[in-house]
Symmetry: C2
Subunit: 301 residues, 2 copies
């Protein structure tokens, strides 16, 4: 028995992309959707992000065998409450949040009788909202499931098969470990991108217009990441506080060491690090996780 | 009288792109080239990065009215020495280095009788070497000239016209101010990208394979920048030490403030910053300094 009826709660970039990906890869699955924002529901209907978009969450989930909560991590508790009384028995409850330990705790506390299997598709763009989704978002990207101890194996398998169907590679992981891994591959990069863009916009001796004009020297890549959805990212940092602070501590130590190397004029230390980091880039491209074209193909040559 | 014979010393990404851009945009200009590495000279001949590629620097510059040094900032002094005795009277000496105060001092000390006008085309990719160049690299990018006090106006104009010809927007700036502006728009972004990639590759509780697999969450963008040429970047940090340390200090202050906000659970402070940074991204796209396609068009949807 595979999944046949999916309810998507939250129809922004992730929720909308799930709906479109189902329509592309698994058109036999019936989709329903809901978003708290009426304008988003309207846009979702126009773009057909789900087969039926309902005006309340309870109706959207009433017949589902899989419910995916695609709301900011901080809103998971409210979303769970809104659907609690309408959930069919045996429905799998999952999500797409970027931190997993706190989401898992929240959902299991709010829905103690339900089969909760949190998930995190590691995919996204800097865009958000119902216009941002597209059906290929999850192809060749990893989707991490973090089933709590005792989660029924067949439900985990069904959810894994669902994501495989949308083009993802599926991996199982402990929620705590997930949060540490993503702190370094996603949360800290976002935090330092937001920081440097903020620093640059507050300088007195360099104008904002200069920052913008000369951004092609590297800065513009950080502005892309720092254009990501503010509410989503606020919630990520608040909900994954421990792992983020731990990784931030290690980053700061390493940055201080580099600062000392620059101050002392220790060119060898700089050159050693700058050489080592190239190897990781090569592996990322070899494993299909980024575009090998120089400059992401921006220059179209 | 405009520039008619350009000698390019150093035939990597920048030098090679200048040669190709001249062939595309100003085919009337005669180009000569030299690189210290015989394999690079060979590759440059095959790709026709310059009309004639010579086996020594002196021959390459013997007939030039503009000499552009396209070597790492730390090698500018050696390059200047190698061409000193062969330079035609009245030739303009320029460069493409990413820091300008130290290059200006070095070149003027090594070539006291020559007209030295340092320049910095704010353009590049993460690639390097003679295969990396392409003729469009400078189009719609800024090229900053930092003429020293007393530089002849007609020479500054000629050099500006040369870069305009290759498709660049030209701006004049004081070398010291240039170094401060580029510290924030280019040097610090590279430094923190190198740092986080180094941090991620040295963790004990997260494997390198996990870092690579889940890099699509933001980390992979940093690896692109951290794949840039190690020698070039070592020299940039050593030669622009003061401005880099100054800007790094401000970045660290801001990062510490965010760290505190996370520790205290101050969601409003996080949301405020994450909202503000979106505006800069919009301006960069409006001014044509980056690609507006989500995710740089990686997903090709």
């Amino acid at each position: 028995m595979s999944i046949e009826r999916v309810a998507i709660i939250g129809l922004g970039l992730l929720g909308g992309s799930i709906g479109l990906a189902i329509a592309k890869h698994a058109p036999g699955i019936v989709t329903t959707g809901y978003d708290a924002d009426p304008a988003t529901r309207e846009a979702a209907r126009k773009r057909k992000l789900a087969g039926t978009v309902f005006d309340n969450a309870a109706e959207a989930v009433g017949n589902a065998d899989l419910v995916i909560l695609c709301v900011p991590v901080g809103a998971m508790g409210f979303a769970a409450e809104a659907i609690r009384d309408a959930l069919p028995e045996g429905a799998i409850i999952s999500d797409v949040g970027s931190s997993k330990q706190s989401v898992s705790d929240t959902l299991r506390a709010a829905l103690p009788d339900q089969c909760v299997i949190p998930a995190h598709p590691v995919a996204g763009t800097e865009q958000s909202g119902p216009e941002a989704g597209f059906p290929e978002l999850f192809e060749h990207r990893w989707c991490i499931l973090t089933p709590p101890a005792g989660a029924p194996e067949d439900a985990v398998e069904k959810l894994g098969a669902f994501w495989t169907n949308l083009g993802s590679n599926v991996e199982l992981m402990d929620a705590e470990h997930h949060d540490l891994v993503l702190a370094v591959t996603s949360h800290i990069p976002h935090l330092i991108a937001y920081t440097i863009v903020g620093t640059a916009s507050d300088l007195e001796d360099v104008t904002r217009s200069e920052v913008i004009k000369y951004s092609a020297g590297g800065f513009r890549d950080f502005t892309r990441i720092a254009a990501s959805d503010p509410t989503m990212w606020r919630d990520v940092f608040l909900s994954n506080k421990d792992a983020v602070l731990e990784m931030l501590g290690r980053f700061t130590e390493d940055l201080t060491a580099l600062q000392r190397a620059i101050r002392r004029g220790d060119g060898d230390a700089l050159h050693d690090l700058f050489t080592k980091t190239r190897a990781i880039r090569r592996s990322i491209i070899e494993q299909g996780q980024d575009d090998a074209r120089p400059d992401f193909g921006r220059s179209d040559h």
